[in-house]
């Protein structure tokens, strides 16, 4: 027995010759459980931790032959290149602005629909509505890009067909960059609101029905119920989900934007985000070091924002937050 062990050392399964609270003892006692974590741990080490060593090529002139450890040093050249270009402010602004639009519009719409859906008396109808609204969430971004194309392509697109049908002028929508932040916001809301409605509906259902009964006795009407009970009761969840979403605001939705916009040069000015820029720098230009530098810039700022918004979430509600 060492002096380290304090009072409460009543461990029944002590293995002879091993310190009861040492790491070896624990590993021996629960070796099966530790083995069970092994595949996932190996996965994380290979795909999440090992790539961190690759970040050094942001400071090197990366070439395939020398690899990440031996390519010549370049200092902060690539950061300079990026921040002195017009792209730095453009893609940063687009990332933040698009995400802000997605978050605000998406959540306002989902909260509204959840409240209205909760008022539907017929359970079957409610279910049908929910199933329909959740549907787009299951579609891949490639499929959604095809759907967007079927709506907006200038030759046969449903929108132009409709406009021509009622005698209005048609447009080449894929050549109108000023519209695309709005279009993308609509697409994003359409794809994800069913998901958020489910969360918000679960919150509404969990509100104590006695609150409503008491309010009704006091003469509250439907509007009072919604604005003075339902929404205030939903607030903690709304604030929490907003804060967590804001924490991720530095990360663009690559799958969405690269599927829908791709390399359409006309639209990029308003829709190119950090993630799509990094991909293009790496893939189209082969600029590995530059792409890594931009990725590192994103990771660092993204990390700081997560910490800030997580802290805010915790200040708002002690039990909440990511960690």
């Amino acid at each position: 027995m060492t002096t380290k062990i304090k009072t409460n050392s009543a461990d029944k399964n002590s293995v002879a010759g091993v310190k009861k609270h040492g790491i070896i003892f624990e590993l021996k006692k629960n070796w099966v459980l530790y083995m069970m974590t092994l595949p996932a741990v190996v996965f994380l080490l290979i795909f999440s931790y090992y790539p961190l060593t690759g970040l050094q090529i942001a400071f090197r002139d990366y070439n395939v032959v020398d690899g990440i450890w031996k390519s010549p040093f370049a200092g902060i050249k690539y950061f300079k290149d990026f921040f002195q270009s017009a792209y730095a402010s453009q893609v940063t602004f687009n990332t933040l602005y698009l995400n802000l639009l997605f978050i605000v519009v998406g959540h306002v719409f989902a909260v509204t629909i959840a409240i209205l859906l909760n008022e539907v008396i017929n359970e079957k109808l409610k279910k049908v509505f929910q199933v329909s609204m959740f549907f787009p969430y299951f579609l891949s971004w490639v499929i959604i890009s095809a759907i967007v194309y079927s709506f907006l392509n200038d030759k046969f697109g449903a929108l132009n067909t409709f406009l021509a049908g009622i005698g209005l002028p048609t447009h080449a929508w894929y050549n109108m960059p000023q519209l695309w932040r709005g279009i993308l916001t609509v697409i994003n809301t359409w794809q994800s609101f069913g998901y958020n409605v489910i969360i918000y509906l679960a919150v509404i259902v969990s509100i104590d029905s006695q609150i409503y009964e008491a309010a009704r006795i006091d003469g509250a009407n439907k509007m009072d119920e919604i604005f003075k009970i339902t929404i205030p009761q939903m607030m903690p969840t709304i604030v929490l989900l907003l804060l967590l979403a804001l924490g991720k605001i530095f990360y663009g939705n690559f799958g969405m934007l690269y599927a829908i916009i791709g390399d359409n040069g006309v639209l990029l000015k308003n829709t190119d985000v950090i993630d799509t820029y990094v991909f293009r720098a790496m893939r189209t230009d082969g600029a590995y070091s530059l792409a890594t530098a931009v990725g590192l810039y994103q990771s660092v700022l993204g990390f700081v924002l997560v910490l800030i918004f997580n802290k805010l979430a915790k200040m708002y509600d002690d039990t909440m937050g990511l960690f």
Binding site: I23, K29, N30, V32, L33, T37, P39, A40, V41, F43, L44, I46, F47, Y49, L52, I57, I68, I113, L116, E119, V120, L125, F129, V131, S132, M133, F134, F135, F138, L139, S140, V142, I143, A146, I147, S150, F151, F156, N160, T161, A164, G194, Y195, I198, I199, A202, N221, K222, L241, G255, A259, G262, D275, V278, M282, A291, G295, S299, F303, V306
Partner: protein, 287 residues
């Protein structure tokens, strides 16, 4: 019920019915176009009801030398194999982390959390994929997606909700931890397992970014990536045996490909929806 409330209910129901319809509308248009005669599309454009019914697009897609068939095989393989492995890996770790007796579980929790908030970004990740020889390799579409932290915390929370007494009594009967996990816990946690199985299956079925990074060999194209190539028209003629007008795929063919690509998940979706809902509401609270 007073009259104002009745009016509200009627208007509310109509409004939500419209929202639901508008949500489904884009899908209905695609479905209609896929069953439309190509000339009627050229003449009238897209519409919700086909002006002239035609199965030509589907016949073309599944005709001789079709690449769709092959892409289907690839996608089914990566979805089935990937989902099985991912669910196994995730639920094993989830079970271990759900056990109170595991002293270092916080270390493992942190090991999962940290990459969620700080990552090396695309380029280092891509270089690792290349080092592992995952380019033009079907495992390249599977292995990098075998573990998802969101699903881990979901299933861990699910395991945590199971009554401890069952595990304890099995232990007294002499069952080891793996035995408890395999023959008792997995059975009790079926709804939770169903949820992460669906999340993983959907992720494998819908992913196209790994193929974008790794796959040049057309025989290894998964459905989603094939669809993207068809949409971008570049390699369509080279990769598809479908009927084409000139060098551009027919509109109906494109949309038929979309319908085929959406796949069986959508057909069963109304029936499995409750598992997704359960998973989302568990996952949204923490994780």
């Amino acid at each position: 019920m007073n009259r104002g409330l009745k009016t509200f209910n009627v208007i509310n129901t109509i409004f939500l019915a419209l929202v639901s319809l508008v949500t489904l509308l884009p899908f209905l248009i695609v479905l209609s176009v896929s069953f439309s005669d190509e000339r009627s599309i050229a003449k009238y454009g897209y519409s919700i009801i086909p002006k002239q019914l035609s199965l030509a697009a589907y016949k073309g897609l599944f005709g001789a030398g079709s690449t769709i068939f092959n892409a289907y095989k690839v996608t089914v393989f990566i979805t089935v194999v990937g989902t099985l492995l991912a669910v196994l890996i995730t639920s094993m770790m989830g079970y271990a982390l759900s056990r109170k007796q595991l002293k270092y579980k916080n270390f493992f929790n942190m090991l999962v959390y940290i990459p969620m908030v700080f990552s090396g970004g695309l380029v280092p990740f891509y270089i690792v994929l290349l080092k592992l020889h995952l380019s033009n390799n079907i495992w390249g579409l599977i292995v990098p997606m075998l573990f998802n932290p969101f699903n881990l915390f979901l299933i861990r929370n699910f395991f945590k909700g199971l009554p401890d007494s069952i595990m304890e009594s099995a232990k007294i009967d002499g069952a080891g931890e793996f035995r408890i996990f395999w023959s008792i816990v997995l059975r009790l946690a079926l709804p939770g397992l169903a949820t992460i199985t669906l999340f993983y299956a959907l992720a494998f079925w819908n992913d196209w970014t790994l193929a974008l990074l790794l796959i040049d060999d057309t025989r290894l194209y998964p459905l989603q990536y094939l669809l993207r190539q068809i949409l971008s028209r570049v390699t369509f003629v080279a990769t598809s045996g479908a009927h084409v007008t000139g060098n551009i795929p027919a509109e109906s063919t494109k949309m038929a490909t979309v319908i085929v690509t959406i796949g069986p998940i959508v057909l069963v979706y109304p029936f499995i929806q409750k598992y997704f809902i359960k998973g989302i509401t568990i996952g949204a609270i923490k994780g």
